[in-house]
């Protein structure tokens, strides 16, 4: 700074304030901002103290609309609504309505003469229950209202109005206008305490026949039993189509077989083998009870609806789905391996069960054709009765595994044991058929038709149903 520059600056501008005044202003602002911040934080905290808890909107005793319940439970309802996503897929499951018959055409042969040979898809999420049951090809004019039982909270309401037996005995199509809400809050919860409850009579009655009171169980068991209202094997008893669980002798496949044998029950007569068959319906609960997770008292909800914490609030994730779609939230809570390792372990188990299923399906399909061939060779019904009984018993075991969800993961050992028994019984049936064929002078191999695709298999089944089956006996077979 030169001396002769100073006067020039002073003449053009006034002297700027010294730097200390700037810093004094700075210091004052710091203190003021700090104190105001503390005050603001304190005010906000005290305001939160004064705010009353969010008002609970009372829920009507007969409120069917899950959206109205959701006003009080937004987190649970939001998760429930995520079931609208029907594109999720795991290796063997998910909410995607995959076509089981296209994936496994042998199933068309195994269910020949029954609705499941027409259409058999993976069910979508609970929110689609009403839509899916009204659109499936398996429902027709003769369908009883029993098929509504697990689809809607309107069902307990109608049962209360009509009477349970009268509800079951009515026609499915007559109630289409009455039943609109898909499975929701009402089906598992008391409206005001949110306690879990059983709303379907079939489970209550089955427990009574086993000498147990379904209302006197622990909360943890309830977190399984609300699912067991529907995810079980059942049948329609008598002309009134009364929904019944075949648990009187126990929950295992053999115990159910004993039950069904006692009343000579059959769901349908097989179109190819003419055997009286029993269809197993997703015995998820029964299979689960034989597995290690049930032994450890892990409930359905622990894996399929695990607890979540968001923003410090713990709640049950009501997006009911395959745990493989949420490995971290489900499995990793107890199993400390990485997500990939857990997934590989689960899918490794499922792959093995799938292989066992494939072998059982191949054996069963051939057993049905062997029985048809024996009939074509001239064997009478009495002669075939024993072999038909064997294929009935074999397929019941296979179906107990195949119809249950989870590709055997709920109880891998039990599933492999039953598939082993199914292969064995189907083999016994085929040996018996070979003897019968030999008695009728047929010693050449049976000519098994091609059922490699769903369409081929369905066309083949149609030929049997129309009474014009292909010739299964080889060239030159003595007849």
């Amino acid at each position: 700074m030169s001396n002769d520059a100073e006067p020039a600056r002073q003449t053009t501008t006034p002297k700027p304030p010294p730097a200390w005044r700037g810093w004094a202003l700075f210091g004052l602002t710091v203190v003021a901002t700090f104190l105001l911040g503390l005050l603001a934080a304190s005010v906000l905290e005290r305001r939160r103290e004064a705010r009353p808890p969010a008002p609970i909107r009372p829920i009507d005793e007969m409120e069917m609309d899950s959206g109205r319940w959701g006003e009080n439970f937004p987190r649970q309802h939001d998760a429930y609504r995520r079931m609208l996503d029907d594109s999720t897929r795991t290796k063997y499951g998910g909410a995607d309505p995959r076509d089981y018959l296209a994936e496994t055409p042998a199933n068309v042969i195994l269910f020949a003469g029954y609705g499941f040979a027409q259409e058999y898809r993976q069910a979508r999420g609970h929110v689609y229950a009403v839509e899916d049951v009204t659109q499936t090809e398996r429902v027709g004019p003769a369908t009883p209202s029993t098929c509504w039982t697990c689809k809607s909270p309107d069902v307990p309401r109608l049962m209360g109005r009509m009477g349970t037996a009268e509800f079951y005995a009515s026609r499915f199509l007559d109630l289409t206008d009455e039943i609109t809400h898909p499975i929701g809050c009402f089906d598992c919860h008391e409206p005001n305490s949110m306690t879990l409850r059983i709303t379907r009579p079939a489970l209550r009655e089955a427990f009574e026949r086993m000498g147990r009171d379904v209302d006197q169980v622990s909360h943890q068991e309830m977190r399984t039993l609300v699912c067991a209202q529907c995810h079980v094997e059942y049948y329609f008893r008598g002309p009134g189509k009364y929904l019944t669980f075949p648990w009187d002798d126990g929950l295992g496949a053999e115990r159910m077989e004993t039950y069904y044998e006692a009343s000579e029950f059959a769901d349908w007569t097989h179109a190819i083998s003419q055997a009286p068959m029993v269809k197993m319906q997703h015995p998820d609960y029964e299979v689960y009870t034989t597995g290690v997770h049930a032994y450890r008292d892990v409930s359905c909800a622990d894996c399929h609806m695990p607890y979540r914490t968001e923003g410090g609030v713990k709640f049950t994730d009501h997006h009911v789905q395959s745990p493989l779609l949420n490995v971290e939230g489900s499995c990793a809570v107890c199993h400390r391996w990485g997500e990939d390792e857990i997934r590989r372990r689960v899918e490794g188990i499922q792959d093995k069960v799938r292989e066992g299923r494939d072998r059982a399906e191949a054996a069963l399909a051939r057993a049905h054709f062997d029985l048809a061939a024996a009939a074509q060779a001239g064997a009478a019904d009495e002669e075939l009765q024993g072999a038909r009984g064997l294929v009935r018993r074999a397929q019941l075991r296979w179906d107990y595994v195949a119809a249950h969800n989870g590709m055997g993961f709920h109880s891998p050992q039990e599933c492999m044991r039953l598939l082993g028994a199914a292969v064995d019984l189907a083999g016994q049936c085929r040996v018996e058929c070979a003897r019968i064929l030999a008695r009728h002078d047929v010693t050449t191999p049976v000519r098994y038709p091609d059922f490699g695709t769903k369409e081929k298999a369905q066309a083949l089944v149609a030929q049997f149903a129309e009474g014009s089956p292909p010739d299964l006996l080889g060239e030159g077979a003595g007849r």
Partner: protein, 204 residues
């Protein structure tokens, strides 16, 4: 001379137009005041210490705190005894700073997973701390012959110390110490004026 002049120019904000100098001082004051305000609000001084209560400033860690509080380790070790390195002060605070900033980021962005696991960086630190305290015990047994890391201590001692069920929800509803209000400076939250550990045994 030129350096001192540069410092003088900066301190007096001479590079700012004359009319803007005073507003600039005020704006800088607001920024610094807010920064200072964050110190008590975030209980920043507590992060330099070793109090376990510091770890539950964010509720995500409640399960970890409560499971530790009910474990045998409560008598002998705090969070930092196991979860930060103790070879020297520099590596301890470097690790704390890095972990802490990451935790703060995850919490702020709501990125927290439902099950919290040790990060790859934390695994050797925790194992070294197991060995640091239990050197005498493991000195005689064959596991001492293993290379560190194969297997890890907790591959066998699976319940130590946080239990076998690990989830943000596993123990989130249980009693946990209430933190003091942030409207006033309170960097060391306590229950009724007492440390949580000495409160063990006479819980309400």
């Amino acid at each position: 001379m030129t350096f001192r002049r540069l410092i003088g120019d900066v301190l007096a904000l001479r590079f700012v137009g004359r009319r803007w100098r005073m507003p600039c001082f005020a704006a800088l004051g607001v920024l610094a005041g807010l920064g200072l305000f964050l110190v008590p609000v975030s209980r920043a001084p507590s992060y330099l210490g070793d109090e376990p209560e510091t770890c539950i400033h964010c509720h995500v860690m409640t399960t970890q705190f409560v499971t530790w509080q009910h474990s045998s380790h409560v008598e002998a070790a705090t969070c930092n005894d196991c979860h930060v390195p103790h070879d020297n002060l520099v590596s301890k605070y470097a690790f704390k700073a890095q972990d802490g900033l990451w935790h703060a980021t995850v919490f702020t962005m709501r990125w927290e997973p439902q099950v919290i696991r040790l990060s790859d960086r934390a695994i050797p630190v925790v194992e070294e701390n197991c060995r640091r305290c239990h050197a005498e015990v493991i000195g005689d047994v064959s596991i001492a012959e293993h290379e560190p890391g194969d297997p890890r201590c907790w591959d066998c001692h699976r319940e130590v110390p946080h239990g076998r069920v690990r989830s943000l929800s596993a123990a989130s509803d249980v009693f946990r110490p209430q933190l003091g209000p942030i409207g006033s400076v309170d960097s060391e939250p306590r229950i009724r004026g007492r440390s949580v550990r000495s409160n063990r045994g006479d819980r309400p």
